[in-house]
C-alpha cells in the first residue's frame, strides 16, 4: 500500500505581485517517481524549491510525513537536491564532493550530534560511486569531468545521504540526446534499487512519460492534470495537456449523444460518455490514430499541403476544410494529393471546454511551431 509522504496544501507563491503558484494541491507517495512537467515559467521549479526548503510559500502548507515543515530550513529536511547545472564544489575532488554531506554532523532525534566514522563515510562514498558507475574517479577534479560524469557525481552526492526524497531539477537538460536516454534508464534503475521517492522537474514530455509513475502537468502556476503517463497521454484533461504531451489535432466538436461526437458537421462514433446533449467540446485526435484511405472511402477528405520525412514515418499536414491536421503515416502521400481518412472510435478523445480551447491543435503554422519548441528547449529555465 502506497503511503503518503509529502503533501502541498493550497500552496501559493507570490513574487513581486505576480502569482507564480496558484494554490497547488498535490500529494506524493513514498517511493514514487513523480514528475512535474510544464513549459518555462509554469511553476514547476518553484514547487520543487518549496519542497526543498529554498522557498517558503506565501500561503498554504507543506506537510512531510504528517508534519508541517514550511519553516524548516533545507539543511534540516530529509530531502536532497540534484541541481540543474549540478552545482558541484569546484575546490573538492569527486570523492570529497560525494563525502561532503556525510562529513557534516547531524542532529539526531534525541538532540545529540551524530558524527559518522571515517570508515563509515568511506564505505558509503565508495558504494555510491559504484552505484553511479564512477569507480576509479575518486581523485579526479570535478571540473575535468564530462557533463554526464558531473551529473553522476551530483546524483551520488545527494543520494549518499540516504534522503527520503530526492529532488531533481532538470538534471539531464545539459546532456546530449544519447546520453540523456542512457541517464533516464539509469535514474529509473537507481530509484527502484534504492527505493527513494524521486521528484523530477522537466519540460521534456518524453522524459516525463518514460520515467515516471505519476506525471503532474503544470501551466501558469496551476496543476492541469495529475495521472499516470498513460492517463496523461490517452485522456488529456484539456487542450493544454493534449498539446503539450505529444502531438495533437484539436478541433471543436459537439457531443450529440453518448458516444457520438460531431466534427466538421459529421457524426463520428467515439467511446466517451457523460457529457450533456449538444455540449460543445474539444476533440483530440492524435496524429498516429488517423488511417489514410483512398479519397472515396474517407470519412473526411483533405489535401496534403506539406510532407516531412522523419525516418520512422512521414509527418504530413493535411488541409480539411481550412483546418490543418498533422498526420503520421508510413505511406508516402505527395503534396497536393487528395486523401481520405478514417478514425476508429478509440481515436477520439473528448475534453470539456477550458481556458485553453482554441489556442492549440491547429497545424497551419507547423514549421514555425516546431522552431518555437526547439527554442524553448535550449532556453534557460526560469
Amino acid at each position: 500500500m502506497a503511503k503518503e509522504l509529502i503533501r502541498l496544501k493550497d500552496a501559493r507563491m507570490d513574487f513581486d505581485g505576480e502569482t507564480i503558484l496558484d494554490n497547488i494541491n498535490l500529494y506524493i507517495n513514498d517511493k514514487e517517481f513523480l514528475t512535474l512537467l510544464g513549459p518555462s515559467g509554469c511553476g514547476k521549479t518553484t514547487t520543487l524549491r518549496i519542497i526543498g526548503g529554498f522557498l517558503v510559500p506565501t500561503s498554504g502548507d507543506v506537510i512531510f510525513d504528517g508534519v508541517r515543515i514550511n519553516d524548516v530550513p533545507p539543511h534540516k529536511r530529509q530531502v536532497n537536491t540534484v541541481f540543474q547545472k549540478y552545482a558541484l564544489f569546484p575546490h573538492l575532488n569527486v570523492y570529497e564532493n560525494v563525502a561532503f554531506g556525510l562529513k557534516i554532523p547531524k542532529t539526531g532525534e534525541d538532540g545529540k550530534k551524530i558524527r559518522l566514522s571515517k570508515d563509515e563515510i568511506d564505505s558509503r562514498v565508495r558504494e555510491m560511486l559504484e552505484v553511479v558507475s564512477l569507480k576509479g574517479f575518486e581523485h579526479r577534479s570535478v571540473t575535468s569531468l564530462s557533463g554526464g560524469q558531473q551529473q553522476r557525481v551530483a546524483i551520488a552526492r545527494a543520494l549518499v545521504n540516504r534522503p527520503k526524497v530526492l529532488l531533481l531539477d532538470e538534471p539531464l537538460g545539459a546532456l546530449d540526446l544519447r546520453l540523456r536516454k542512457d541517464m533516464q534508464q539509469e535514474l529509473r534503475r537507481i530509484q527502484q534499487e534504492m527505493g527513494i521517492t524521486f521528484i523530477y522537474v522537466t519540460h521534456d514530455q518524453e522524459e516525463a512519460l518514460s520515467m515516471s509513475d505519476t506525471v503532474v502537468v503544470m501551466d501558469r502556476g496551476r496543476i492541469q492534470q495529475i495521472g499516470t503517463p498513460e492517463d496523461i497521454y490517452n485522456e488529456p484533461k484539456n487542450a493544454f495537456v493534449a498539446d503539450f504531451i505529444g502531438e495533437s489535432n484539436i478541433v471543436d466538436g459537439i457531443m450529440r449523444d453518448d458516444c457520438v461526437v460531431e466534427i466538421f458537421n459529421r457524426k463520428f462514433k467515439c467511446l466517451d460518455k457523460g457529457f450533456q446533449k449538444d455540449e460543445a467540446v474539444d476533440v483530440v485526435i492524435r496524429p498516429e490514430d488517423v488511417d489514410i484511405v483512398p479519397e472515396a472511402e474517407g470519412q473526411l477528405k483533405g489535401t496534403v499541403t506539406q510532407v516531412t520525412f522523419k525516418g520512422m514515418q512521414y509527418d504530413i499536414i493535411v488541409d480539411f476544410y481550412g483546418f490543418k491536421w498533422l498526420i503520421q503515416t508510413t505511406d508516402f502521400c505527395p503534396v497536393d494529393s487528395k486523401i481520405g481518412i478514417k478514425i476508429d472510435p478509440d481515436g477520439f478523445h473528448i475534453m470539456k471546454k477550458s481556458e485553453y480551447s482554441g489556442m492549440f491543435g491547429d497545424y497551419s503554422s507547423y514549421s514555425e511551431e516546431y522552431d518555437e519548441i526547439s527554442d524553448a528547449e535550449s532556453e534557460e529555465e526560469e
Binding site: 526543498g52 529554498f54 530531502v79 564544489f89 570523492y95 561532503f100 557534516i104 581523485h139 552526492r157
Partner: protein
C-alpha cells in the same frame, strides 16, 4: 618563427616596449645602484650596511642599548604592515561578502562609497586623520561631549595603523568582492541542501573558494603598507621611523646607492614572502584520501 607568432609579437610590441621601459629598466637601475658605490664600482657594502649598521637607542626606562638600526626599522615596518593587513582582512571580508549578496543597486552604492576616498589625494586623507585623531581633535571632542575620557592616539602605533587601514582598505575589499560576486549561489544552496548551517557553508564552501581573492587582497595591502612612509611621519608624529621613511630619507640625503640597496632588499623579501604565502595556501588541490584505490 612562423607567420602567426611573428604577427602576435608585432601586436604585442608596444606593450613589450612599455614593459621594458617602465618595469625592467627601473628594476635594473635599482639593482645597479644597490650594488655600486658612489663612483659606480661594484660593491656589497650597501647590502651589508643594511644588515650590520648599529645605533644607540634609549628606552623609556633610560637604559641605552645598541641595536641593528635597519633591522629594527624593518621589523617595526613589518609588524605594523601585518597588523594593518590583518585588520583590513577582518573588516574587509565581511563587507565584501555583504556587498556581493546585496541587491544590484545597493552593490553599486557601496562600491562608490568605497571608491570615493580613493579619488582624494593621499596627503589630504592623512591630514584629515590628523585632525580627527589629535588630542584636541574631532574624536576626542566627541568622546568628551558624551562624557568619556579623551584618548591619546596621535603619535602612537595605533594612529599609524588606523591611517594605513583606512588608506589600503579598498585594495582588500575589491579583490575579495570580485571573487565573491562571481560565486555561484547554487553552490551555497547545494551546501545547505547537504546539511550545512550558515556557518558551515562559510567554512566549507565560501571561504575556500575565496582564497584567491584573499591572497590578492593581502598582496595589494601588505606590499604598499610595508613600504609606506608618509602616514608614519604624520600620524605617528615622526616617532615611528619605518623602512619607507628610511628609504625616502636616504634619497632626500642624496644617498642613492644605499636607498636603492634597501629598496632592493625589501623587494626580495616581499617576493619571497608572497611566494611562500602562495605555496602555503595552494594546498595539494586533489589530495589523496587515505586508503584510496590507486
Amino acid at each position: 618563427m612562423n607567420g602567426e607568432r611573428r604577427r602576435t609579437a608585432a601586436v604585442l610590441a608596444p606593450y613589450t616596449v612599455w614593459a621594458a621601459i617602465f618595469i625592467v629598466v627601473p628594476l635594473f637601475f635599482v639593482a645597479y645602484y644597490a650594488f655600486t658605490d658612489n663612483s659606480f664600482n661594484f660593491t656589497f657594502d650597501n647590502i651589508t650596511r643594511f644588515f650590520t649598521a648599529t645605533s644607540q637607542v634609549t628606552n623609556d626606562a633610560g637604559v641605552t642599548s645598541e641595536v641593528r638600526t635597519y633591522l629594527v626599522i624593518f621589523w617595526r615596518s613589518l609588524k605594523l604592515a601585518v597588523i594593518s593587513t590583518a585588520l583590513c582582512l577582518l573588516l574587509g571580508y565581511p563587507l565584501a561578502y555583504i556587498m556581493s549578496r546585496a541587491g544590484a543597486r545597493a552593490q553599486k552604492i557601496m562600491m562608490i562609497l568605497i571608491m570615493i576616498p580613493m579619488w582624494m589625494n593621499f596627503l589630504i586623507r592623512t591630514y584629515a586623520w590628523m585632525t580627527i585623531l589629535q588630542d584636541t581633535g574631532i574624536l576626542n571632542g566627541f568622546l568628551t561631549s558624551i562624557g568619556l575620557k579623551p584618548l591619546h592616539i596621535i603619535g602612537t602605533e595605533s594612529a599609524v595603523i588606523v591611517g594605513m587601514v583606512y588608506d589600503y582598505f579598498p585594495y582588500m575589499v575589491l579583490p575579495i568582492y570580485s571573487i565573491l560576486a562571481k560565486l555561484d549561489t547554487k553552490l551555497i544552496e547545494a551546501a545547505h541542501d547537504l546539511g550545512c548551517n550558515s556557518i558551515q557553508v562559510l567554512q566549507k564552501v565560501i571561504l575556500p573558494l575565496s582564497v584567491p581573492g584573499i591572497l590578492n587582497g593581502i598582496t595589494m595591502v601588505l606590499i604598499p603598507s610595508i613600504s609606506t612612509f608618509y602616514i608614519s611621519q604624520k600620524l605617528g608624529s615622526g616617532r615611528f621611523f619605518l623602512i619607507g621613511d628610511a628609504i625616502e630619507g636616504q634619497y632626500v640625503a642624496n644617498n642613492l646607492h644605499f636607498a636603492a640597496a634597501m629598496a632592493f632588499i625589501l623587494m626580495i623579501i616581499l617576493l619571497a614572502a608572497m611566494a611562500l604565502l602562495k605555496y602555503l595556501t595552494s594546498r595539494p588541490r586533489f589530495k589523496t584520501v587515505k586508503g584510496a584505490a590507486k
